[in-house]
Amino acid sequence: MRRLPLVTATVLAGALALTACGSSDSGSDDGGSGLSVGSAYMPQPVSDTMAAGFLVITNKGAAGDVLTRVTSEVAGEVTVHKTVGQTMEEAKSLDIPAHGELVLQSGGDHLMFEQLKRKPLEGQKVSVQLYFAKTSPITVEMPVKSATYNPKTGH
């Protein structure tokens, strides 16, 4: 799956990638900036008010970057949340280290979609724009999975 377009790779990588904290086999090569996004999914939310989203940003480049802002067509506001113990804190920005990755996964850091304009349903896709300090914005078509989707098992 080396040269797949971002969107497709995102879906395919979902089954493989989020095995553990530091696995780095996710994502696709975007052929430029060094940043690529993989393993994106949104569990179908319970309510029509908020949802979570997960993805892995891999940085093959020699320079670090920073995820500074996230927007989406489905939400009035998207924030990045860091899980700290049993609570969550909103993070202003998140580092993506050189030759490293930023992992947003269930139980850890995640995207939080608020002021939903519609309730995302399983099988749909949600368009998400990621903005960085250096790299140009990346758009991810985030698939909506079941409420109990587990990337480790792929179902």
Binding site: P43, S47, H110, T153
Partner: protein, 217 residues
């Protein structure tokens, strides 16, 4: 790791360890002295040698009626979880995992099982708000709200530490959820099995039939 979480008992240390942020389950399943975990397995369930007593919780259900946890769940297989509805990730995932697993039980077993969701954020989680949220998960789940101090004290007897909802420096509301689901035996009414956040639908699907009978998963 976390601020003074488990005042209660060393038993809970094991549970905490398996719940670290990146809990991949690959390397964190060592059993600790007080806890029986089948060796060589990566089972989600932790069977306690010393079960918890049921907390004395009298709260308000989603209909606005008083609900006495001990009385209502006496002799019933029961799962309890402490969380809040404005929680995007772990709370809905945990409850959905249980709800999906429950649907794979026989109708008779489904009716025996009590699933109780106690809010850690009673200010925002009114009976109506809880009811609406739980309807999206499983209408049979009992949702409880009430006085935070009562909820906190009840949680503490199960080794679950929660703090009241507060505002961070940006004015964002922050609530705290519990770290585990506790299963109570219909035979003893003791809380004898713990599940961490890593427990999946498959784990619950495999274990619930045993919990219904009060057996060790």
């Amino acid at each position: 790791m976390r601020k003074k979480l488990f005042a209660a008992s060393a038993l809970l240390v094991a549970a905490t360890l398996t719940l670290s942020a990146c809990g991949s389950g690959d390397d964190s399943d060592q059993s600790v002295a007080d806890v029986s975990v089948e060796s060589g397995s990566d089972k989600a369930a932790t069977v306690l040698d010393q079960p918890f007593e049921k907390p004395d919780l009298v709260l308000t259900d989603t209909q606005g009626k008083p609900y006495d946890f001990r009385a209502e769940t006496k002799g019933r297989p029961t799962l309890i979880y402490f969380g809040y509805t404005n929680c995007p990730d772990v709370c809905p995932l945990t409850m959905s995992n249980i709800a999906v697993a429950k649907k794979q039980l026989s109708k008779a077993d489904q009716d025996k099982l009590r699933i109780v969701f106690v809010t850690t954020d009673p200010e925002r989680d009114t009976p109506a708000a809880l009811g609406k949220w739980l309807k999206g998960i499983d209408p049979q789940v009992v949702g409880l709200t009430g006085d935070f101090a009562t909820i906190q004290a009840g949680a503490r007897t199960l080794g679950i530490s929660i703090e009241p909802t507060s505002k961070d420096k940006n004015g964002k509301t922050i609530s705290m959820h519990g770290t585990q689901v506790i299963a109570f035996s219909p035979k003893t009414d003791g809380g004898y099995v713990l599940y961490g956040e890593d427990a999946t639908v498959d784990d619950y699907t495999k274990d619930l039939p045993k919990i219904i009978k009060g057996q060790n998963p």
